[in-house]
Symmetry: C2
Subunit: 195 residues, 2 copies
DNA sequence: CTCTCTCTTTACAGGCTGTCAATTAGGACT
DNA sequence: AGTCCTAATTGACAGCCTGTAAAGAGAGAG
């Protein structure tokens, strides 16, 4: 065990190296590339991770730990109204997705090749769906949902419109600024859902 | 060259075999699997396609030719108003995506590994963007766009909301019926964009 | 019959993953 | 000092994949 932190942890070095490779678009980087980038032998990677899939999984958790996910979720809970929470969810995407996106893209590219990765991917989707449902329920409880829109349908619409994919389409694909994303996606959601 | 059709065309058989494998979710099928499925040697594949990427490209064109893409686009042009065209675009996704989806998923999984595939993918995105822009322009010309919404922004919003990804989220991910997709996405778009 | 085109079989080079074994360098502990 | 343990290294191997190459079989056209 030794000291708590500060040690030139090899596991950490590997994760950071993989992260940087993902950030520069090398989604399909081989283990030898990652290892070389971390200044370590290929076998050392297998000392710390069971296989390629486990490394990706750890990478996702690593990034989650870096980003202040818990804080963002708390801000979402603390929003005074459902409508405010809706905008807070959009803001959260605008803030967090730039850092999450490279990893997500890499995961998306390889998830179909491994059961554990696909499972982790589905878990994340389910998590975001729970968040969307919570917002939809608040809106429904406040009577803010427009006539003829069931909370379930509203939740699904929120879920898909604040997805990383839609953020990617607009910000990465169409070059929107974070501000523009916040404003127009927020407005579109309010108009689509509210009375 | 020989006869026009009917011949037990090996190239065609390979494409059909690949298509069926994609449909049953084997996005990462190897060439030997595809060849065996087509009842042909692995080398025969290389007689008809330069490499794996070329096969995928031909697969996309193959599917496009099967689906009545031209007819759907014509129906979109013939819509009497911009608002009708908007709904026609949503309907088009609901009709065509079930057949397109398996190939698109396979393409999406491998496109980052090949420049030509990435190019083809971007071309398709650009095509859909042109369609979205045409609708946005019609809406603007008819004065139907809501105040404060630039045609460019409207086009981007239409583009992303009728994307295959959003269709996948709702229909494949959340189990929506085609009817439900048509109704709620259409309504959400109208509310988000129109006066 | 011969020529040509397609497909088959066999083989090879090179890259990747995952596993194993033997070995080395450093720290910690007595 | 010496000993022991852990982490990392080198080297090697099986198995899968792609893409290239060469040699031969079979069928149809002229």
């Amino acid at each position: 065990m030794s000291s708590e932190a500060g040690k030139p942890d090899t596991r950490h070095r590997i994760l950071e190296a993989a992260l940087e490779l993902m950030r520069r678009g090398a989604a399909g980087a081989s283990l030898v590339q990652i290892a070389r980038h971390a200044g370590v032998s290929r076998q050392a990677v297998y000392l710390h991770f069971a296989d390629r899939a486990a490394l990706f999984l750890a990478l996702v958790r690593h990034v989650d730990a870096q980003r202040d996910l818990a804080g963002a979720l708390k801000r979402l809970d603390e929003a005074p109204t459902g409508v405010a929470a809706l905008q807070a969810a959009v803001d959260m995407q605008a803030d967090l997705n730039p850092g999450l996106y490279p990893i997500a893209a890499a995961m998306d590219a390889v998830r179909r090749q491994d059961e554990a990765l696909e499972q982790a991917w589905q878990d994340r989707l389910a998590n975001r769906l729970r968040g969307a449902r919570a917002i939809a329920d608040r809106l429904a409880a406040e009577g803010a949902l427009r006539q003829g829109l069931a909370p379930d349908t509203a939740a699904d619409l929120i879920w898909t419109m604040i997805s990383l994919r839609m953020w990617e389409d607009l910000v990465v694909g169409r070059g929107w600024t974070a501000e523009r994303y916040r404003e127009h996606v927020g407005e579109a959601l309010r108009r689509a859902l509210l009375a």
